[in-house]
């Protein structure tokens, strides 16, 4: 309700605004039109004066008739003020009132110049019609008064100049005034109707504007809603992907663990047999030993992949216990395969003891360190540094930085997504596992990376972890 009222109020105020704009436009335009008319009348007046009574004769001397002077000087005087006002103050009430008066004075002057020709009186009516362009009846008022006064005064003192004869009837001015008032009546009605129409148009314009604004708002709202839907759609797809990975992991793990274990056992047995007993001459082919090594290595790779999948699939709640960080980092470093990369455990000796799930966090460190080592191009000396900081009541911060090749900007947002990988060999689960385990610790992980300079992972853990009651 309130909204509707507000919108109605705003529409009507907007309608008023549109109306004023429109009206101001009409007034200014008419001012300009009248200014042009003023100048044209001046020129016309001079031409009339020159053609009808160009010269007077006084004896032999030919001089320009006084009418010519009247047309030039008086006409100039009448036209100059309204023209000036129309140019400097278009749309002002004063301007159009002056224009109205000036226009009527022009009628008077022209009537005078034509020696009171009755036909010239039509100028009065034409002028009033022109003034009605203002669509403001107030303009007609001073104009009418000027006409009436002019006729009355000139009838009294100089009847020829207005009626063309020396002794008009006394009521002649009244007859003229009547026709002027008659036209005024018509024009006032026209002006009022014009204003009414302008108001109606403004109202409609404002309504259309409001309508289109509402439409725009609606479409923006729709856009926003669509965006939201797309986002939740993406989240849903991600969640489904996660669930699918989980199920896949569990079933793959189930199906593959036993056969893998059997292959591994068989391989171990054969390897030991050959190594220990040097069975028969037909086994001297060095490829047999070599291939057994291959089998062993590749089975280990498979085992690791399955372990990753199951790490991802399992959702064991972390068992939070005090766990000194520095020895844990040493422990994780020891598991990494040998490489040229230097791994520096820069965790302070006297760092307070955080509370973590030891096994989970060890896995987190191993995955991050493994990635860091692999991020370093083989042709340069690499260094991976693990630092940690903690202070009373603050977040725990563990920072793993490398001087590797960095993560390209376009993929940095995806690295924690399951199944996302840039490695030719990799499940794309390593960082997803890390993110999941840190989330289970109620912590967060973020990555800062610079192409060619390296990457820094920052893990933040709450200082007061929730201890399991189990």
């Amino acid at each position: 309700m309130n909204g509707l009222e507000t919108s109605a109020t705003s529409t009507s105020s907007r309608a008023e605004e549109v109306f004023q704009e429109h009206r101001q436009g009409v007034l200014a335009r008419t001012d300009r039109l009248m200014a042009v008319l003023m100048v044209a009348q001046w020129l016309f007046g001079i031409v009339v004066a020159l053609t009808l009574s160009p010269y007077g004769w006084e004896g032999r001397i030919k001089t320009p008739h006084v009418h010519v002077y009247a047309a030039v000087l008086l006409g100039g005087a009448i036209s100059s003020l309204p023209v000036a006002l129309a140019l400097t103050r278009p749309g002002w009430l004063g301007t159009r009132l002056v224009v109205g008066v000036a226009q009527m004075l022009w009628s008077a002057l022209l009537i005078h110049l034509t020696g009171g020709r009755i036909e010239t009186h039509f100028h009065v009516f034409g002028s009033l019609a022109f003034l009605a362009f203002y669509r403001d009846w107030r303009v007609l008022l001073p104009a009418t008064i000027v006409v009436a006064a002019d006729h009355l005064v000139r009838q009294l003192f100089w009847p020829e100049s207005v009626y063309g004869i020396a002794n008009p009837e006394w009521w002649r001015f009244l007859e003229h005034a009547f026709w002027v008032v008659f036209e005024d009546t018509v024009l006032v009605i026209g002006c009022l109707e014009g204003v009414k129409e302008m108001r109606a148009i403004s109202q409609r314009t404002a309504e259309v504007e409001a309508l289109s604004n509402r439409e725009k708002e609606k479409s923006a709202e729709l856009d926003r809603a669509l965006h939201k839907i797309q986002q939740s759609q993406e989240a849903l797809v991600r969640a489904e992907k996660l669930a699918a990975v989980g199920q896949l992991a569990a079933s793959v793990g189930h199906e593959l663990r036993n056969p893998l274990a059997a292959v591994r056992n068989a391989n171990t047995y054969i390897t030991k047999k050959i190594a220990g007993q040097g069975v028969g001459a037909n086994l001297t082919d060095p490829k047999i030993k070599q291939f057994l090594t291959v089998i062993d290595r590749e089975v280990s790779v498979c085992t690791k992949i399955i372990a990753d999948l199951l790490d991802f699939a399992r959702e064991r709640a972390p068992v939070i216990q005090p766990c000194p960080l520095r020895p844990l980092v040493d422990d994780a470093i020891a598991v990494l395969p040998e490489s040229k990369t230097r791994i520096v455990n820069a965790v302070p000796e006297d760092l307070p003891v955080p509370s973590l799930d030891r096994d989970h966090f060890r896995q987190v460190l191993i995955n991050l360190l493994q990635n860091a080592v692999e991020a370093i191009p083989t042709d340069r000396d690499g260094e991976v540094v693990i630092r940690a900081e903690a202070s009373e009541g603050e977040l725990w911060r563990i920072i793993i930085s490398d001087n590797g090749s960095g993560i390209p900007e376009e993929i940095v947002g995806k690295i924690f997504e399951p199944l996302f990988t840039t490695k030719s060999k990799g499940t794309g689960l390593g960082l997803a596992i890390v993110a999941g385990m840190i989330k289970a610790h109620k912590g967060s992980i973020r990555v800062d990376t610079r192409a060619g300079e390296g990457t820094r992972f920052t893990i933040e853990l709450p200082s007061q972890p929730v201890f399991n009651a189990a």
């Binding site: 663990r257 171990t268 199951l310 068992v319 096994d359």
Partner: protein, 252 residues
């Protein structure tokens, strides 16, 4: 040393048996729980290693049956699943350890050898906070012994009777790191678990750096201690940062 292995996967059973025989164990394979129970009725074994997921009676039910018939028989479970409520149940009822498949033969041998020696959990110090823990462990069917002081502890370790030591940091205090160091130098395969009533960062740091398996805080849920003991017993070797080869074959 006679070991009974139970697994419905024939290829796995066959290869595991062969490998353990190669290492000098006497091994008998059973394709399912009923076969295993039948064998147990007629023959003597030192240890049972069983898969969990099997058609018919599963490994945990088999474990329970064995427990009722042969209360002292160590039972090790193996499974392809990292997390199953069944595993947790078995651990809380006193299964020795759970091996995640696939495992190295060396890993299996380490855990089997440990189990066959029927080790006890050593609780230090007798006269202080350990009685409730001891009662819990006994209730769950886990052999344990309370002892007092460094001397008694070390002699138990030397005698290879204990494979897990639960030490109260609050009582031993500053003497703990030295005890841990001595224990591990005598037998690196022992898992040392320390418990404290409150956070003692420097002591935790020291014992962890020396290779303690876990540092726990009171109040400690009994089930938690049992799980940690089972996990420690499933380790392939000692987990000492200085011993790099010691972590090979660790669950990846």
């Amino acid at each position: 040393m006679r070991i009974l292995i139970v697994d419905d996967e024939n290829s796995l059973l066959m290869t595991l048996v062969a490998n353990l025989e190669l290492e000098g164990f006497q091994v008998v394979g059973a394709a399912n729980a009923l076969c295993a129970l039948e064998l147990l009725r007629h023959e003597a074994f030192d240890l049972v290693l069983t898969d969990i997921r099997m058609p018919g009676m599963n490994g945990v039910e088999l474990f329970r049956t064995i427990r009722s018939q042969h209360p002292d028989m160590p039972v090790i479970l193996m499974t392809g699943f990292a997390l199953e409520s069944l595993i947790d149940e078995a651990i809380l009822e006193g299964a020795f350890a759970v091996l995640p498949k696939p495992f190295d033969i060396e890993h299996a041998i380490a855990v089997l050898s440990r189990a066959v020696s029927r080790p006890v959990v050593l609780l230090v110090n007798r006269h202080y906070g350990v009685e409730p823990a001891a009662a819990t462990l006994r209730a769950m069917g886990i052999a344990c012994r309370e002892c007092e002081g460094e001397g008694e502890t070390l002699s138990a370790v030397r005698a290879r009777t204990a494979d897990v030591i639960v030490a109260d940091l609050g009582i031993l205090g500053d003497k703990t790191p030295e005890l841990v160091r001595q224990v591990l130098s005598v037998d690196p395969s022992v898992a040392v678990i320390t418990i404290a009533g409150h956070m003692v960062p420097d002591l935790f740091q020291k014992v962890a750096a020396l290779g303690a398996a876990a540092c726990l805080l009171q109040p400690l849920a009994p089930a938690e201690l049992v799980r940690i003991i089972a996990r420690a017993r499933a380790r392939p070797f000692t987990r000492s940062p200085s011993n790099r080869s010691g972590v090979e074959g660790e669950e990846a």
